[in-house]
Amino acid sequence: MRKHGDALLTAAVWLATALVVGAFLWLLGDVVIHGIGKLDAAFLLDAPQNAGRDGGIAPILVSTLLILVVALAVAVPLGLATAVYLSEYAAAQLAKPLRVCLNMLAGVPSIVFGLFGNALFCVALGMGFSIWSGGLTLACMMLPLFIVTTESGLSAVSSEWRRGAAALGLSRAAALWHILLPAAAPAITAGLMLSIGRALAETAALIFTSGYVDRMPESLSDSGRALSVHIYDLSMNVSGGDAAAYGSALVLIVLILAINSVAVNLTERFLQARTTA
């Protein structure tokens, strides 16, 4: 009886895994098959023409990367500082409600962040449709997710380490910098990857903040179309835009993979190197 149960469980687990992997491969295969024909150097280096059906996606790639850089430059330091505060400084009765709020914020639909970003950055602060507005809106979206994952990583570090650091006469800052943050590096990396993924996949929040203009941005106060917005527009508003949409989707997937591996490398080199040094 027990043997049958085990076999059944094994089969169920395998089946579930196969389904998940299969769905992913199907999706990836679909994008690759339809998109690979569009992908060449000209597609990456030219400006879009005829509403995106022809030409390439160069300005859109640049805008996407600029938006991401602004978002990360704001979200990473703020997020790290908040996570450190929550895990190392805040009293338990204060940290608990803050965590609840963060978890709620992390689950807020992106369109809400988009409307908030439009009202605050574009209108109230007069930044208009710009890469600034888009990047800052994304930063607000990333923050809760990044803080929650980083903080859970810091909390998971054994308190023995903190006491050990104190016993050695390390200052709080030195203990953080040399022991706690490096030890939490895997969690920080995971938070960073999730945040980057969420940012690059974001459409709803960016239509209302960084906007629709597909010109090469000249400064961060220019409106710039993100790759996800471009894909959305091509597949939803532009007749005959499917091929270019698939091509752009393929570029987006490759971009996410590339940026994530760079992020993993950097965090590991930057933080973990010091635990062994």
């Binding site: 005829n50 509403a51 995106g52 704001v74 703020l78 409600p97 803050l98 709020c101 963060l102 914020l105 605050l120 950055f121 209108v123 602060l125 007069g126 930044m127 208009g128 449709f129 710009s130 600034w132 800052l136 930063a139 607000c140 923050l143 239509i207 209302f208 906007g211 629709y212 203009v213 597909d214 010109r215 400064s219 961060l220 106060s221 409106s223 527009d233 597949s235 939803m236 508003n237 532009v238 007749s239 005959g240 835009g241």
Partner: protein
């Protein structure tokens, strides 16, 4: 709640500094257009050609729907609004509409659906759920899948207005956002009925997408009939300005209405103005 307000304060603090730089960079020779996602790709192309002919000028196009175009033109957030529908009477008091092209809305069915004609009354009954099977209008024994547009789309407003329907009365099985999505939904479901821009539908049809366009009141759903104003279910694509346009906005609108952009209008599957 404390967290939320703290986060806002941080963002605000960072941004006050940034916005100072941002406003200092904003140029003078810039036109901002917002509104209809139907017009946006066309406006973008017209804008690019206008920029080429007027060095130093920038035309920024943003989307968000016709209602947004109306509001932004009214509040001055945009120099020019875009709306893919005629002005409502209260809007016409403040805004001036400048037609740049025509768009027709056609009822689409799957190509394999043997039904070739529906009266306005039948379409109305299908959309309100009184007719639920194609058998009742002379087709096969198959359940009807009603595809409706999402709230806020000007196509929806035009459709409701023409058939004298209220959106809550519609019994939709699928709610879609844009033309392409509507076409994909109908092409993938033999029992579906939907409505989309004729230009888009005609393009997809000639490129092998399995859909058919139904005639309305005996008039074939074609780009030619929309241009001549014969087709009952058609709409103007308008640029909106608060009062009479001047300066750059005036020049852009005159350009967008000229024969110099007819090729761009056609390339977006819309119908150029009859001149």
């Amino acid at each position: 709640m404390q967290m939320i307000s703290m986060e806002k304060k941080w963002c605000a603090a960072v941004c006050v500094g940034l916005s100072l730089c941002a406003s200092a960079w904003a140029g003078g020779n810039k036109l901002v257009l917002t509104g209809s996602s139907t017009i946006a790709p066309l406006a973008l192309e017209i804008g690019k050609r206008f920029e080429q002919q007027n060095p130093g000028v920038r035309v920024d196009v943003q989307t968000g729907g016709s209602t947004r175009g109306v509001n932004d033109a009214r509040t001055g957030l945009a120099d020019i609004g875009m709306a893919s529908r005629a002005m409502k009477s209260d809007e016409a008091q403040v805004l001036v509409a400048h037609r740049i092209a025509m768009d027709g809305i056609g009822i689409i069915l799957h190509q394999k659906n043997p039904v070739k004609n529906l009266s306005d009354e039948q379409i109305k009954q299908i959309y309100t759920g009184q007719i639920g099977n194609w058998r009742e209008v002379g087709g096969e024994d198959r359940k009807i899948t009603v595809v409706n547009k999402a709230e806020g789309r000007s196509t929806l407003e035009l459709f409701l207005h023409h058939f004298q329907l209220n959106n809550p009365d519609i019994r939709a099985h699928v709610v879609i956002g844009d033309n392409q999505q509507g076409i994909k939904t109908v092409a993938g479901n033999v029992g579906a009925i939907g409505y989309v821009s004729i230009g888009t539908a005609e393009y997809e049809q000639t490129h092998g997408t399995p859909i058919q366009l139904l005639p309305m009141a005996g008039v074939g759903a074609s780009v030619a009939n929309v241009r001549e104003g014969k087709f009952p279910l058609s709409r103007p694509l308008n640029l909106l300005t608060k009062g009479t346009p001047t300066g750059l906005a005036k020049r852009f609108i005159e350009f967008a209405q000229s024969a110099a952009v007819d090729d761009l209008v056609t390339a977006q599957y819309f119908v150029p103005l009859a001149r």
